[in-house]
Symmetry: C2
Subunit: 150 residues, 2 copies
């Protein structure tokens, strides 16, 4: 039922979101979130954080995270997309490799691996798919069973 | 822009979801999730868990959780609702008090408090608002600032 065009556009928006984080590109990241009245309703949960609500609060958190991140790379797996009309839900596993700035100028701190899962909610706008909500959380439990992911 | 009727109906669906958990009412809980083709796209993340996808996998997880939970109570705070057409996003803080079955028959194990935040995504159906996605995660970090939540 979902058009291939929609699926591809949503996946591109999702990829652009992580690439903006990797590149420390605050401008692009800001453009990916809903604006105006719709921006008041955006929500974001970073791993281990409480809920942030509204474009202002959400973007401030990203500015803070970017300022404290020297290096970050996301290897996305299990990307699943569900589109319904003008709303799309993407879930994925974020295999994160990141490093904070070192205490010595110009050096990179130790790299840390993190396993996080995310639910990213997008809404269709005249300018493309934009983020309504991002909820990311640490995976703490091991899965008991080997599941058939198809 | 959002009608009061919609807001109330979404809040009721959200409350019904937590009441079903508190009551160990698997039937009601099952009814609250999308069914049919739409049920294939439902997703669920329990605190610390990976993503579960599809009605079957999601409901099995609840059966498992209910079987291992003797007592659970949710005190919801910070409930915020954003409705857009036939989709609604609810975020809330789940102040959870729960107890597993004790090893001694008929007794309740020690009660545990947990601070969790959730993003609950609902879709409007002819039968009312139904869950498309539930993402819950532990709050691990303290918030630095006292924020004005209004």
């Amino acid at each position: 039922m979902t058009s291939r065009v929609d699926l591809e556009a949503v996946e591109q928006a999702n990829t652009a979101f992580y690439e903006a984080m990797e590149g420390g590109d605050f401008e692009t990241l800001s453009d990916l979130w809903l604006t105006g009245d719709e921006g008041d309703g955006v929500t974001c949960v970073h791993p281990g954080w409480p809920v942030l609500t509204g474009r202002g609060e959400v973007l401030r958190s990203y500015a803070l995270i970017m300022a404290n991140t020297e290096y970050i790379q996301f290897f996305l797996t299990d990307v699943k997309i569900s589109v319904n009309g003008d709303t799309a839900l993407v879930t994925c596993t974020e295999n994160i490799l990141s490093g904070a700035p070192s205490e010595e100028a110009g050096e990179l701190g130790p790299l840390v691996g993190q396993l996080v899962v995310a639910s990213n909610l997008f809404r269709r706008t005249p300018d493309g798919w934009r983020l309504w909500s991002h909820h990311a959380s640490p995976v703490l439990a091991e899965r008991d069973e080997d599941e058939d992911e198809d």
